[in-house]
Amino acid sequence: MKKQDIDDLRELIEFLKQHQVAEFDVDRGDLKIRLKFNPPESGTASLSDLARLLRTAPQSVAQAAAAATEAASGSGSAGAAADSAADPDAGLHLVKSPIVGTFYGSPSPGAAPFVAPGDHVEKGQVIGIIEAMKLMNEIEADVSGEVVKCLVSNGQAIEFGQPLYSIRSA
Protein backbone atom coordinates (compact mmCIF):
# COMPACT_ATOMS: atom_id res chain seq x y z
CA MET A 1 0.00 0.00 0.00
CA LYS A 2 1.31 3.45 -0.90
CA LYS A 3 2.03 6.00 1.83
CA GLN A 4 -0.56 8.34 0.32
CA ASP A 5 -3.21 5.65 0.63
CA ILE A 6 -2.33 5.04 4.24
CA ASP A 7 -2.55 8.75 4.94
CA ASP A 8 -5.93 8.93 3.24
CA LEU A 9 -7.17 6.00 5.26
CA ARG A 10 -5.99 7.58 8.48
CA GLU A 11 -7.83 10.75 7.59
CA LEU A 12 -11.03 8.84 6.92
CA ILE A 13 -10.76 6.94 10.18
CA GLU A 14 -10.00 10.15 12.06
CA PHE A 15 -13.13 11.72 10.60
CA LEU A 16 -15.27 8.72 11.56
CA LYS A 17 -13.88 8.65 15.08
CA GLN A 18 -14.24 12.37 15.51
CA HIS A 19 -17.91 12.18 14.61
CA GLN A 20 -18.38 9.02 16.67
CA VAL A 21 -19.55 6.96 13.74
CA ALA A 22 -20.07 3.43 15.02
CA GLU A 23 -20.15 1.64 11.68
CA PHE A 24 -19.09 2.60 8.17
CA ASP A 25 -19.98 0.65 5.04
CA VAL A 26 -19.10 1.29 1.41
CA ASP A 27 -20.18 -0.92 -1.46
CA ARG A 28 -18.97 0.17 -4.88
CA GLY A 29 -19.14 -2.79 -7.25
CA ASP A 30 -16.19 -5.00 -6.48
CA LEU A 31 -15.11 -2.78 -3.60
CA LYS A 32 -16.56 -3.41 -0.16
CA ILE A 33 -15.45 -1.79 3.09
CA ARG A 34 -16.77 -2.25 6.59
CA LEU A 35 -15.31 -0.46 9.58
CA LYS A 36 -16.62 -0.86 13.13
CA PHE A 37 -15.62 1.15 16.13
CA ASN A 38 -15.98 -0.02 19.74
CA PRO A 39 -17.54 0.81 22.04
CA PRO A 40 -20.40 1.89 19.81
CA GLU A 41 -21.57 5.32 20.90
CA SER A 42 -24.49 7.17 19.46
CA GLY A 43 -23.61 8.30 15.95
CA THR A 44 -23.60 12.06 15.77
CA ALA A 45 -22.18 12.68 12.31
CA SER A 46 -24.80 14.30 10.15
CA LEU A 47 -25.65 12.53 6.94
CA SER A 48 -24.61 15.56 4.93
CA ASP A 49 -21.14 15.52 6.52
CA LEU A 50 -20.71 11.91 5.59
CA ALA A 51 -22.12 12.38 2.12
CA ARG A 52 -19.70 15.24 1.56
CA LEU A 53 -16.76 13.19 2.72
CA LEU A 54 -17.67 10.36 0.40
CA ARG A 55 -18.12 12.77 -2.48
CA THR A 56 -14.76 14.43 -1.97
CA ALA A 57 -12.76 11.42 -0.81
CA PRO A 58 -10.48 10.31 -3.61
CA GLN A 59 -10.96 6.76 -4.84
CA SER A 60 -7.68 5.86 -3.20
CA VAL A 61 -9.21 6.35 0.23
CA ALA A 62 -11.76 3.67 -0.44
CA GLN A 63 -9.16 1.40 -1.97
CA ALA A 64 -6.81 1.91 0.95
CA ALA A 65 -9.65 1.26 3.36
CA ALA A 66 -10.47 -1.95 1.52
CA ALA A 67 -6.85 -3.06 1.69
CA ALA A 68 -6.73 -2.36 5.40
CA THR A 69 -9.91 -4.31 5.96
CA GLU A 70 -8.54 -7.28 4.07
CA ALA A 71 -5.28 -7.12 5.94
CA ALA A 72 -7.11 -7.04 9.22
CA SER A 73 -9.49 -9.89 8.44
CA GLY A 74 -7.00 -12.55 9.48
CA SER A 75 -6.12 -10.98 12.79
CA GLY A 76 -9.31 -9.95 14.48
CA SER A 77 -11.90 -7.28 13.97
CA ALA A 78 -11.55 -4.47 11.46
CA GLY A 79 -12.25 -2.06 14.27
CA ALA A 80 -9.11 -3.03 16.14
CA ALA A 81 -7.00 -2.59 13.01
CA ALA A 82 -8.57 0.77 12.31
CA ASP A 83 -7.78 1.99 15.80
CA SER A 84 -4.14 1.04 15.60
CA ALA A 85 -3.78 2.47 12.07
CA ALA A 86 -5.15 5.81 13.25
CA ASP A 87 -2.84 6.20 16.22
CA PRO A 88 0.06 8.05 14.53
CA ASP A 89 -2.29 10.81 13.39
CA ALA A 90 -4.54 10.82 16.41
CA GLY A 91 -4.87 14.24 18.00
CA LEU A 92 -4.05 16.21 14.85
CA HIS A 93 -5.52 19.67 14.92
CA LEU A 94 -7.89 20.52 12.06
CA VAL A 95 -8.11 24.10 10.75
CA LYS A 96 -11.71 24.55 9.60
CA SER A 97 -13.33 27.02 7.24
CA PRO A 98 -15.29 29.82 8.92
CA ILE A 99 -17.39 30.43 5.80
CA VAL A 100 -18.78 28.93 2.59
CA GLY A 101 -16.62 29.83 -0.39
CA THR A 102 -13.83 28.93 -2.76
CA PHE A 103 -10.45 27.83 -1.37
CA TYR A 104 -7.14 29.25 -2.58
CA GLY A 105 -3.89 27.78 -1.33
CA SER A 106 -1.73 30.58 -2.72
CA PRO A 107 -1.94 34.39 -2.66
CA SER A 108 -2.44 34.50 -6.44
CA PRO A 109 -2.62 32.01 -9.30
CA GLY A 110 0.83 30.67 -10.11
CA ALA A 111 2.34 31.94 -6.85
CA ALA A 112 3.92 29.59 -4.35
CA PRO A 113 1.44 28.10 -1.86
CA PHE A 114 1.13 29.72 1.56
CA VAL A 115 2.27 26.46 3.19
CA ALA A 116 3.19 22.91 2.26
CA PRO A 117 3.12 19.68 4.29
CA GLY A 118 6.11 19.61 6.62
CA ASP A 119 6.21 23.40 7.01
CA HIS A 120 6.21 24.84 10.49
CA VAL A 121 3.52 27.46 11.02
CA GLU A 122 3.00 29.93 13.81
CA LYS A 123 -0.42 30.63 15.29
CA GLY A 124 -1.91 33.55 13.35
CA GLN A 125 0.06 32.84 10.17
CA VAL A 126 -1.99 33.07 6.96
CA ILE A 127 -2.22 29.59 5.42
CA GLY A 128 -5.02 30.01 2.86
CA ILE A 129 -7.82 32.17 1.51
CA ILE A 130 -11.53 31.43 1.19
CA GLU A 131 -13.38 33.69 -1.21
CA ALA A 132 -17.12 34.28 -1.05
CA MET A 133 -18.58 36.88 -3.40
CA LYS A 134 -15.27 38.73 -3.70
CA LEU A 135 -14.83 38.77 0.03
CA MET A 136 -11.38 37.34 0.59
CA ASN A 137 -11.17 35.67 3.98
CA GLU A 138 -7.65 34.97 5.15
CA ILE A 139 -7.37 31.65 6.94
CA GLU A 140 -4.92 31.72 9.81
CA ALA A 141 -3.37 28.81 11.61
CA ASP A 142 -5.14 28.67 14.97
CA VAL A 143 -2.30 26.66 16.50
CA SER A 144 1.46 26.61 16.01
CA GLY A 145 2.91 23.39 14.68
CA GLU A 146 3.74 21.32 11.65
CA VAL A 147 1.40 21.25 8.64
CA VAL A 148 0.63 17.56 8.05
CA LYS A 149 -1.71 17.87 5.13
CA CYS A 150 -3.83 20.25 3.06
CA LEU A 151 -7.20 18.49 2.95
CA VAL A 152 -8.70 20.48 0.05
CA SER A 153 -7.55 21.47 -3.41
CA ASN A 154 -7.04 24.88 -4.97
CA GLY A 155 -10.29 26.33 -6.31
CA GLN A 156 -12.44 23.78 -4.47
CA ALA A 157 -15.87 24.79 -3.13
CA ILE A 158 -15.75 24.70 0.67
CA GLU A 159 -18.57 24.30 3.14
CA PHE A 160 -18.92 25.93 6.53
CA GLY A 161 -16.76 24.13 9.07
CA GLN A 162 -15.01 21.94 6.49
CA PRO A 163 -11.48 20.91 7.58
CA LEU A 164 -8.82 22.62 5.42
CA TYR A 165 -5.52 21.58 6.99
CA SER A 166 -4.35 19.14 9.57
CA ILE A 167 -1.63 20.42 11.87
CA ARG A 168 0.44 18.57 14.45
CA SER A 169 0.48 21.18 17.15
CA ALA A 170 3.84 21.93 18.71
Binding site: V100, G101, A111, A132, M133, K134, L135, S153, G155
Partner: protein, 243 residues
Protein backbone atom coordinates in the same frame (compact mmCIF):
# COMPACT_ATOMS: atom_id res chain seq x y z
CA UNK B 1 -19.71 71.20 -13.80
CA UNK B 2 -16.82 71.39 -11.45
CA UNK B 3 -13.95 69.71 -13.22
CA UNK B 4 -11.50 70.04 -10.34
CA UNK B 5 -9.64 66.78 -10.23
CA UNK B 6 -7.90 67.41 -6.95
CA UNK B 7 -9.58 66.18 -3.80
CA UNK B 8 -10.84 68.70 -1.28
CA UNK B 9 -9.90 66.77 1.82
CA UNK B 10 -11.16 69.42 4.22
CA UNK B 11 -14.69 69.06 2.81
CA UNK B 12 -14.57 65.30 3.14
CA UNK B 13 -13.33 65.50 6.73
CA UNK B 14 -16.02 68.09 7.55
CA UNK B 15 -18.71 65.77 6.19
CA UNK B 16 -17.43 62.81 8.26
CA UNK B 17 -15.88 64.26 11.41
CA UNK B 18 -16.01 60.89 13.21
CA UNK B 19 -14.01 59.09 10.54
CA UNK B 20 -10.26 59.02 10.20
CA UNK B 21 -9.55 60.04 6.58
CA UNK B 22 -6.07 59.35 5.24
CA UNK B 23 -4.92 60.58 1.83
CA UNK B 24 -1.94 59.58 -0.31
CA UNK B 25 -0.95 61.13 -3.65
CA UNK B 26 0.61 57.81 -4.52
CA UNK B 27 0.45 54.53 -2.62
CA UNK B 28 1.12 50.91 -3.55
CA UNK B 29 -2.42 49.88 -2.65
CA UNK B 30 -5.09 51.50 -0.49
CA UNK B 31 -5.86 47.99 0.82
CA UNK B 32 -2.39 47.67 2.33
CA UNK B 33 -2.55 51.21 3.68
CA UNK B 34 -5.90 50.54 5.38
CA UNK B 35 -4.81 47.30 7.06
CA UNK B 36 -4.42 47.89 10.78
CA UNK B 37 -6.49 51.09 10.90
CA UNK B 38 -9.48 51.27 13.22
CA UNK B 39 -13.02 50.57 11.88
CA UNK B 40 -14.51 53.63 10.20
CA UNK B 41 -11.16 54.70 8.72
CA UNK B 42 -11.00 55.70 5.08
CA UNK B 43 -7.90 55.63 2.88
CA UNK B 44 -8.00 57.58 -0.39
CA UNK B 45 -5.26 57.64 -3.00
CA UNK B 46 -4.71 59.74 -6.09
CA UNK B 47 -2.81 56.89 -7.65
CA UNK B 48 -2.03 53.28 -6.83
CA UNK B 49 1.14 51.68 -8.09
CA UNK B 50 -0.01 48.16 -7.25
CA UNK B 51 -3.81 48.31 -7.16
CA UNK B 52 -5.29 44.95 -6.19
CA UNK B 53 -8.06 43.09 -7.94
CA UNK B 54 -9.59 39.72 -7.19
CA UNK B 55 -7.14 36.95 -6.33
CA UNK B 56 -4.00 38.27 -7.94
CA UNK B 57 -5.61 40.41 -10.63
CA UNK B 58 -4.30 43.97 -10.78
CA UNK B 59 -6.42 47.11 -10.93
CA UNK B 60 -5.39 49.80 -13.40
CA UNK B 61 -5.07 53.01 -11.35
CA UNK B 62 -4.35 56.25 -13.13
CA UNK B 63 -3.19 59.44 -11.40
CA UNK B 64 -5.93 62.04 -11.00
CA UNK B 65 -8.55 60.21 -13.05
CA UNK B 66 -9.80 57.52 -10.76
CA UNK B 67 -11.15 57.24 -7.27
CA UNK B 68 -9.32 54.68 -5.15
CA UNK B 69 -10.78 54.25 -1.69
CA UNK B 70 -10.41 51.65 1.03
CA UNK B 71 -12.70 51.58 4.02
CA UNK B 72 -12.41 49.65 7.29
CA UNK B 73 -15.78 48.19 8.29
CA UNK B 74 -17.19 45.63 10.68
CA UNK B 75 -17.84 42.44 8.66
CA UNK B 76 -21.45 41.69 7.76
CA UNK B 77 -23.20 39.12 5.56
CA UNK B 78 -23.61 40.12 1.92
CA UNK B 79 -21.36 43.13 2.58
CA UNK B 80 -19.87 42.90 -0.90
CA UNK B 81 -23.30 43.06 -2.54
CA UNK B 82 -24.25 46.04 -0.37
CA UNK B 83 -21.09 47.91 -1.35
CA UNK B 84 -21.90 47.42 -5.03
CA UNK B 85 -25.39 48.82 -4.50
CA UNK B 86 -24.02 51.80 -2.57
CA UNK B 87 -21.51 52.56 -5.32
CA UNK B 88 -24.20 52.42 -8.01
CA UNK B 89 -26.30 54.81 -5.94
CA UNK B 90 -23.44 57.26 -5.38
CA UNK B 91 -22.45 57.26 -9.05
CA UNK B 92 -26.05 57.89 -10.15
CA UNK B 93 -26.50 60.70 -7.60
CA UNK B 94 -23.34 62.60 -8.46
CA UNK B 95 -22.95 61.93 -12.18
CA UNK B 96 -26.35 60.81 -13.46
CA UNK B 97 -24.69 57.74 -15.01
CA UNK B 98 -26.72 54.57 -14.52
CA UNK B 99 -24.64 51.44 -13.93
CA UNK B 100 -25.60 47.77 -13.99
CA UNK B 101 -24.24 45.32 -11.39
CA UNK B 102 -22.51 42.16 -12.52
CA UNK B 103 -22.71 39.66 -9.67
CA UNK B 104 -21.35 40.03 -7.12
CA UNK B 105 -20.40 43.70 -7.38
CA UNK B 106 -18.79 44.87 -10.62
CA UNK B 107 -20.25 48.17 -11.85
CA UNK B 108 -20.90 47.84 -15.57
CA UNK B 109 -21.83 50.21 -18.35
CA UNK B 110 -22.92 47.90 -21.12
CA UNK B 111 -20.24 45.25 -21.56
CA UNK B 112 -17.53 47.35 -19.88
CA UNK B 113 -16.51 47.60 -16.25
CA UNK B 114 -16.38 51.06 -14.69
CA UNK B 115 -15.80 50.19 -11.03
CA UNK B 116 -14.61 47.22 -9.03
CA UNK B 117 -14.91 46.28 -5.39
CA UNK B 118 -12.90 43.84 -3.34
CA UNK B 119 -13.16 43.05 0.37
CA UNK B 120 -10.50 41.44 2.53
CA UNK B 121 -11.35 40.05 5.92
CA UNK B 122 -8.35 40.56 8.19
CA UNK B 123 -8.27 40.21 11.97
CA UNK B 124 -12.04 40.38 12.21
CA UNK B 125 -12.30 43.56 10.17
CA UNK B 126 -13.47 43.99 6.60
CA UNK B 127 -11.28 46.16 4.42
CA UNK B 128 -13.32 47.22 1.42
CA UNK B 129 -11.51 48.52 -1.62
CA UNK B 130 -13.49 50.47 -4.19
CA UNK B 131 -11.93 51.58 -7.46
CA UNK B 132 -13.93 53.79 -9.84
CA UNK B 133 -12.78 54.89 -13.29
CA UNK B 134 -13.97 58.49 -13.25
CA UNK B 135 -12.25 60.86 -15.67
CA UNK B 136 -10.18 58.53 -17.85
CA UNK B 137 -10.21 59.76 -21.46
CA UNK B 138 -9.06 56.49 -22.93
CA UNK B 139 -7.80 53.04 -22.07
CA UNK B 140 -4.99 51.02 -23.53
CA UNK B 141 -5.90 48.76 -26.44
CA UNK B 142 -5.60 45.86 -24.03
CA UNK B 143 -8.24 47.28 -21.65
CA UNK B 144 -10.48 49.25 -24.03
CA UNK B 145 -12.79 46.29 -24.71
CA UNK B 146 -13.52 45.64 -21.06
CA UNK B 147 -13.03 48.94 -19.23
CA UNK B 148 -14.66 52.35 -19.44
CA UNK B 149 -14.94 55.50 -17.33
CA UNK B 150 -17.81 57.69 -16.14
CA UNK B 151 -16.42 60.46 -18.35
CA UNK B 152 -16.53 58.27 -21.46
CA UNK B 153 -20.07 57.17 -20.58
CA UNK B 154 -21.22 60.77 -20.08
CA UNK B 155 -20.04 62.10 -23.41
CA UNK B 156 -16.80 63.64 -22.21
CA UNK B 157 -17.86 65.42 -19.02
CA UNK B 158 -15.36 65.53 -16.16
CA UNK B 159 -16.59 64.84 -12.67
CA UNK B 160 -15.46 66.16 -9.29
CA UNK B 161 -13.91 63.42 -7.17
CA UNK B 162 -14.66 65.15 -3.86
CA UNK B 163 -18.41 65.07 -4.37
CA UNK B 164 -18.24 61.44 -5.45
CA UNK B 165 -16.27 60.39 -2.34
CA UNK B 166 -18.70 62.15 -0.01
CA UNK B 167 -21.73 60.63 -1.71
CA UNK B 168 -20.07 57.20 -1.74
CA UNK B 169 -19.49 57.27 2.02
CA UNK B 170 -23.06 58.48 2.63
CA UNK B 171 -24.45 55.72 0.42
CA UNK B 172 -22.37 53.08 2.22
CA UNK B 173 -23.67 54.35 5.57
CA UNK B 174 -27.24 54.03 4.25
CA UNK B 175 -27.08 50.67 2.46
CA UNK B 176 -24.65 48.49 4.44
CA UNK B 177 -26.72 48.45 7.69
CA UNK B 178 -29.84 47.25 5.82
CA UNK B 179 -30.88 43.67 6.61
CA UNK B 180 -29.76 40.86 4.34
CA UNK B 181 -33.20 40.30 2.80
CA UNK B 182 -33.46 43.95 1.78
CA UNK B 183 -29.97 43.97 0.28
CA UNK B 184 -30.72 40.83 -1.76
CA UNK B 185 -33.99 42.32 -2.97
CA UNK B 186 -32.31 45.61 -3.95
CA UNK B 187 -29.54 43.72 -5.71
CA UNK B 188 -32.04 41.64 -7.68
CA UNK B 189 -33.82 44.83 -8.75
CA UNK B 190 -30.60 46.62 -9.69
CA UNK B 191 -28.73 43.87 -11.53
CA UNK B 192 -29.53 42.53 -14.97
CA UNK B 193 -27.27 39.60 -14.06
CA UNK B 194 -29.38 38.37 -11.12
CA UNK B 195 -31.90 36.46 -13.24
CA UNK B 196 -32.57 35.61 -16.86
CA UNK B 197 -29.07 36.50 -18.04
CA UNK B 198 -27.01 34.22 -20.26
CA UNK B 199 -23.56 33.94 -18.65
CA UNK B 200 -20.35 32.01 -18.61
CA UNK B 201 -18.59 31.35 -15.31
CA UNK B 202 -14.93 30.41 -14.90
CA UNK B 203 -14.74 27.62 -12.32
CA UNK B 204 -11.62 25.69 -11.27
CA UNK B 205 -12.50 22.69 -13.42
CA UNK B 206 -13.55 24.68 -16.47
CA UNK B 207 -15.97 27.26 -17.81
CA UNK B 208 -19.70 26.62 -17.54
CA UNK B 209 -22.43 28.38 -19.51
CA UNK B 210 -26.04 28.84 -18.51
CA UNK B 211 -28.78 31.24 -17.51
CA UNK B 212 -28.95 33.00 -14.15
CA UNK B 213 -32.05 32.12 -12.12
CA UNK B 214 -31.64 34.31 -9.04
CA UNK B 215 -29.76 34.41 -5.76
CA UNK B 216 -30.01 31.86 -2.97
CA UNK B 217 -30.81 32.97 0.59
CA UNK B 218 -27.12 33.65 1.28
CA UNK B 219 -26.68 35.80 -1.82
CA UNK B 220 -24.84 33.29 -4.00
CA UNK B 221 -25.73 33.27 -7.70
CA UNK B 222 -27.59 30.30 -9.17
CA UNK B 223 -26.73 29.45 -12.78
CA UNK B 224 -28.91 26.89 -14.58
CA UNK B 225 -27.13 24.97 -17.30
CA UNK B 226 -28.94 23.87 -20.44
CA UNK B 227 -29.22 20.32 -19.08
CA UNK B 228 -31.39 21.76 -16.29
CA UNK B 229 -28.87 21.36 -13.48
CA UNK B 230 -28.15 24.28 -11.17
CA UNK B 231 -24.68 25.43 -10.10
CA UNK B 232 -24.21 27.72 -7.12
CA UNK B 233 -21.55 30.32 -7.88
CA UNK B 234 -19.52 31.08 -4.75
CA UNK B 235 -16.78 33.42 -5.94
CA UNK B 236 -16.62 35.55 -9.09
CA UNK B 237 -15.71 35.00 -12.70
CA UNK B 238 -19.22 35.67 -14.08
CA UNK B 239 -19.25 37.08 -17.62
CA UNK B 240 -22.03 37.85 -20.07
CA UNK B 241 -22.10 35.06 -22.65
CA UNK B 242 -21.38 36.12 -26.20
CA UNK B 243 -24.60 35.74 -28.10
Amino acid sequence: MNADKSLDLASIRDAFPERRIVYYDTVDSTMTAAAGLEPGSVVIAGEQTAGQGRHGHSWHSEAGNGLYVSLVLPPSPVLTLALGLATVEAVAQTTGVACDLRWPNDLMIGPRKVAGILVQLVDGRAIAGIGINVNHREFSAELAGEATSLRLAAGGRDFALTELVIELLHAIERVVPEDQETILRLFTQSSSYAAGRRVTVALPDGVIEGTTVGLDAAGFLIVRKDDGTDTLILAGGVRAARS
